[in-house]
C-alpha cells in the first residue's frame, strides 16, 4: 500500500527538517520526501494541510497492565490509546504482576500487541528474577525473546552487590539497564514529597534524598561496570544535576522525565487530590524548574508518559491508601507541545524529545526503526493539528484509565492520524 501525506508541515528533527513537503510511503517505509519518487503511485492520500507531520512518538515508559491487571486495562485498550495519541512505539516496564522474567511473558505481550495492531510494544525484561533483587534474570534469553533492555521496574534492588552484578552481566550482553532511582528505606511508606505540603497534610514524605542517594549509588556502579544505563522519570532538580555531571564525565547515561513532572508540583495535591498521587512524587516548584532546565540543557533528553491506567476505585481512597499513577498516554504530545508554546523548547526540539531522542536511547534511530523519517526509514508517522485548543475530557480518552489530573486543561495537538510501518493505526473521525 502506497500512501502520500500531502501539504503538511514535515518536522523531522533527526534530519534537521522543518519544511512544507509531502511524505511518500511504500512498503512500510519512507519512499520519498517532496516530489514522489519515480514510478511511485499512491493508493491513498492523506491531506495534511495545516497539520504537522512528524515521526511517530516513542514513549519510553508505559504500563499496560496485561497480563494480570486486565480489569483495569488491556494491551488492546492501551495500545489503541497510544495510537490515538500519535505513539507508534512504547516501552513497557516489568512490574510485580508482569515481571517479564521469562520468554513466555515476553511472547505473550508481543503477541497481544501484534494481534491488536495499534502500536509496537517493546518490553523491558526483568533485571532480577521475579524482580526480587536476589537472582539475575535470564537477560540474554529475554533479549533473544525481544526485550529492548532490562529493568527492575519500581522494585528496588536492595543489595548493592546484586545491582553491581546485574549491571556487569547486562553490560556483557550489551543490554541497556533502565533504572527507577529510589532508595527503598527512605521512601518506605511515603506518598508525597517530603516538604511543606506533606507536613501540612500529615502525609508521610518521600525525601529528595530517596532519589539522589539511589542515583549516586547507581552512577558509581555504572562507572565501575561500564553498563549503558537510562534513568526513568526523574523527579528532583538535584538528581538532574548529578546526571548532567556524570554525562560531562563521560558516563554512558541518559535520563527522561515524565511529562506531568514538568507541569505539576506537590502544591497541586491541594487537599488530598489523589489524582496527583504519583511515584516518584511531585516535588517542589524548584524541582519542576530544575527538571525543565535539565530538559532544555539536554541532560534529560527524553520525555515519557509514565502511563499508569487505573480503575476509578484506585483513586477513591484516602490519599496514602490510593494507588499512585496517571493515565498519561494521551497527554504526552499535548504537554510536550505546550513546552514549545511556553518557549522552553522550539517546536522541532520539543518533538525531538518524544521521537528522535527516545528512539536514540532504545537504539532504534540508527537503524531507521523509529524516531526518524529519512528515505528508507520505517514509516512510523504522527499527523497532528498544532492549532486549536481543545479541552481534555474524560469521555474523549481512549485509555481504560481516566485517572488524570489534566481533565479540563486546554491543549493543542489533537492527533489527526497515526501510521505504524505505513499502516494507519488511528484516524480521527473528521
Amino acid at each position: 500500500m502506497n500512501i502520500s501525506i500531502q501539504h503538511g508541515r514535515l518536522i523531522d528533527p533527526a534530519n534537521g527538517i522543518d519544511t512544507h513537503a509531502d511524505l511518500h510511503i511504500a512498503e512500510g517505509v519512507v519512499a520519498g520526501i517532496g516530489e514522489p519518487p519515480q514510478g511511485f503511485e499512491a493508493d491513498s492520500h492523506i491531506n495534511a494541510e495545516g497539520l504537522v507531520v512528524c515521526p511517530g512518538l516513542v514513549d519510553l515508559r508505559a504500563r499496560l497492565r496485561e497480563p494480570g491487571g486486565e480489569s483495569r486495562a488491556t494491551i488492546a485498550s492501551e495500545t489503541a490509546a497510544a495510537a490515538a495519541a500519535g505513539i507508534t512505539t512504547l516501552v513497557c516496564p516489568p512490574d510485580p504482576s508482569q515481571p517479564i522474567d521469562t520468554p513466555a511473558l515476553v511472547d505473550l505481550i508481543r503477541h497481544r500487541a501484534k494481534q491488536s495492531g495499534h502500536c509496537r510494544v517493546l518490553p523491558l525484561g526483568a533485571l532480577t528474577l521475579g524482580l526480587a533483587g536476589q537472582q539475575l534474570a535470564e537477560m540474554a534469553t529475554l533479549r533473544q525473546a525481544g526485550c529492548i533492555g532490562v529493568s527492575n521496574g519500581l522494585q528496588a534492588v536492595e543489595s548493592t552487590a546484586v545491582m553491581r552484578r546485574a549491571m556487569e552481566y547486562a553490560a556483557s550482553q550489551g543490554l541497556t539497564v533502565f533504572l527507577h532511582a529510589e532508595d527503598p528505606w527512605l521512601a518506605a511508606g511515603g506518598c508525597a514529597h517530603e516538604g511543606a505540603v506533606s507536613v501540612r497534610l500529615g502525609l508521610t514524605g518521600i525525601p529528595e534524598a530517596a532519589e539522589t542517594i539511589a542515583v549516586a549509588r547507581e552512577l558509581q556502579l555504572i562507572e565501575q561496570t561500564g553498563v549503558r544505563a537510562h534513568f526513568h522519570h526523574l523527579s528532583s532538580a538535584r538528581a538532574v544535576r548529578m546526571i548532567a555531571r556524570a554525562q560531562y564525565d563521560g558516563l554512558p547515561v541518559s535520563a527522561d522525565v515524565a511529562a506531568h513532572q514538568l507541569y505539576l508540583t506537590d502544591m497541586d495535591i491541594g487537599y488530598f487530590d489523589t489524582l496527583c498521587h504519583v511515584r516518584p512524587p511531585l516535588r517542589t516548584q524548584r524541582d519542576r524548574d530544575g527538571l525543565r532546565a535539565g530538559l532544555k540543557a539536554g541532560g534529560i533528553s527524553a520525555i515519557c508518559s509514565d502511563h499508569q491506567p487505573l480503575g476509578a476505585d484506585a483513586k477513591l481512597a484516602p490519599f496514602p491508601a490510593s494507588e499512585p499513577g496517571i493515565s498519561a498516554l494521551e497527554t504526552l504530545l499535548p504537554l510536550t507541545l505546550r513546552l514549545a508554546e511556553e518557549g522552553l523548547l522550539s517546536l522541532s526540539e520539543a518533538i525531538a524529545r518524544i521521537t528522535q531522542r527516545p528512539a536514540e536511547i532504545l537504539g532504534l534511530l540508527e537503524d531507521g526503526q523509529g524516531g526518524r523519517l529519512g528515505v528508507g526509514d520505517r514509516a512510523d508517522v504522527c499527523v497532528f493539528d498544532p492549532e486549536p485548543y481543545q479541552e481534555l475530557r474524560a469521555e474523549d480518552l481512549v485509555s481504560a484509565g481516566h485517572n488524570t489530573p489534566f481533565l479540563g486543561w486546554e491543549f493543542k495537538g489533537r492527533v489527526n492520524c497515526t501510521l505504524m510501518a505505513g499502516e494507519l493505526t488511528y484516524h480521527s473521525c473528521d
Partner: protein, 325 residues
C-alpha cells in the same frame, strides 16, 4: 480551587469540620463562644438541649479511641440527637470503594452526620467529598493530618485560663511528626495570633519544613520552655523506639520529659496541657500531670461543650442565646 471551600457552604458557614486550616479567626472564636454557652448547660445540670432532635449522628471509628468517641457520643446525646456507633476493625482492610459503599448505605438510612476517625490522612476529606448534600462530616482524627475538635477544645481551655491569645508564648513538646493534634493546634494558634509558637523535639520527631507552618523549632527543652505561658505535651507512641526515632523511653524522659524542675523555666502561672492518654514517666512526670498547673482534666470536660458547639453549628442550628442559657 474547588476543594478549598469543601468545609464551608455557599454562605461561608461551616458545613463540615475537617481541619482548622482555612478557618477564619472569627469562625474559631464563634465556635469557642458557642461552646461557652453550653458549659453553663452542664453547670446547671440541664443535661440536654433539643438542638439536634430528630437528627442522627453516626460515630464512624476506623481506629480505636475511648476519650474522643465517648465525648462525641455524650455531646450528640446532650444535643438530643440519635447516636449510632460503628467500630470498624482497622486490621480488616477497608478499601476506598467499600468505605464509600458503607457511607451511601448509612445515608440511605437517613443519617445526618458522620463523625469520622481513620488511620489515613485525608480520610475525612474523602468522605466529605462523597456524602449527600444534607450530611455533615466531622473529622475526629485522620492519620497525622488533623484533629480539629481536639485543637478547638485546647483553645477553649487556653482562653478560659489566659483570656487573650495575642500576648501568649506557647510551646508544643514531643512527637510533632506523627501528631495530628499538633498540626491542628499549630493552625489554631497561628490563626488566633499568639505572640510566639515553639515546637520542641529531637529532629527525628520534627517533620521536614515544619517552619512553613509558622513555628519556631528548638531541640532544647529548656530553651523551648523559657517564659512560656502554655506548655502542651504530646503523647509518645511506643512504636517510635522500633522506628529508630528514639533510643529509649528513659532517655526521652531525661531529655524531653516535663518535670517540675523543667517546668520552672516557664512562667510561674504557665498551664500544662496534654491531649491524652498520658504516658506518665515518659513525656510527663506524674507530679506535673497531677500538679496545680495542669489543666489536663479540664481539657477533657471542655471537650464535650466544644463538640456540642461544632455539631450544632455544622448541622446549621447555631443556638440562640436563650437556647444556650
Amino acid at each position: 480551587m474547588r476543594q478549598r471551600s469543601l468545609q464551608h457552604d455557599s454562605e461561608g458557614r461551616l458545613r463540615h469540620l475537617l481541619t482548622i486550616e482555612g478557618l477564619k479567626r472569627q469562625q474559631i472564636v464563634d465556635i469557642l463562644d458557642t461552646a461557652e454557652s453550653f458549659i453553663s448547660v452542664a453547670d446547671q445540670r440541664v443535661r440536654k438541649v433539643p438542638l439536634l432532635r430528630g437528627k442522627t449522628v453516626v460515630n464512624l471509628f476506623f481506629e480505636a479511641s475511648t476519650r474522643t468517641l465517648t465525648t462525641f457520643e455524650l455531646a450528640a446525646k446532650r444535643l438530643s440527637a440519635d447516636v449510632l456507633k460503628i467500630n470498624i476493625n482497622t486490621s480488616a482492610t477497608v478499601k476506598g470503594e467499600s468505605l464509600l459503599d458503607m457511607l451511601h448505605n448509612l445515608e440511605a438510612m437517613q443519617c445526618d452526620m458522620f463523625v469520622v476517625r481513620h488511620a489515613d490522612s485525608g480520610a475525612a476529606h474523602l468522605i466529605a467529598q462523597h456524602v449527600a448534600p444534607h450530611v455533615s462530616v466531622i473529622n475526629a482524627g485522620d492519620g497525622s493530618h488533623a484533629h480539629p475538635t481536639q485543637a478547638l477544645l485546647d483553645m477553649f481551655t487556653i482562653r478560659l485560663r489566659k483570656g487573650e491569645f495575642a500576648p501568649l508564648t506557647v510551646a508544643i513538646v514531643g512527637d510533632i511528626k506523627h501528631s495530628r493534634v499538633a498540626r491542628s493546634q499549630i493552625h489554631a494558634l497561628t490563626t488566633l495570633g499568639v505572640s510566639e509558637l515553639r515546637v520542641v523535639a529531637p529532629k527525628t520527631l520534627i517533620p521536614a519544613a515544619v517552619e512553613s507552618l509558622g513555628v519556631h523549632v528548638t531541640h532544647d527543652l529548656d530553651e523551648g520552655l523559657r517564659d512560656a505561658d502554655v506548655v502542651i505535651m504530646l503523647r509518645l507512641q511506643k512504636e517510635r523506639m522500633q522506628g529508630a526515632m528514639l533510643p529509649s523511653e528513659a532517655e526521652y524522659f531525661a531529655t524531653y520529659g516535663l518535670t517540675e524542675e523543667r517546668l520552672a523555666r516557664a512562667k510561674p502561672d504557665a498551664i500544662v496541657m496534654h491531649p491524652g492518654p498520658i504516658n506518665r514517666g515518659v513525656e510527663i512526670a506524674s507530679s506535673v500531670a497531677d500538679g496545680p498547673q495542669s489543666v489536663i482534666l479540664q481539657q477533657v470536660s471542655n471537650g464535650i461543650a466544644v463538640r456540642m458547639a461544632v455539631m450544632s453549628m455544622t448541622l446549621g442550628r447555631a443556638p440562640t442565646e436563650a437556647e444556650g442559657a
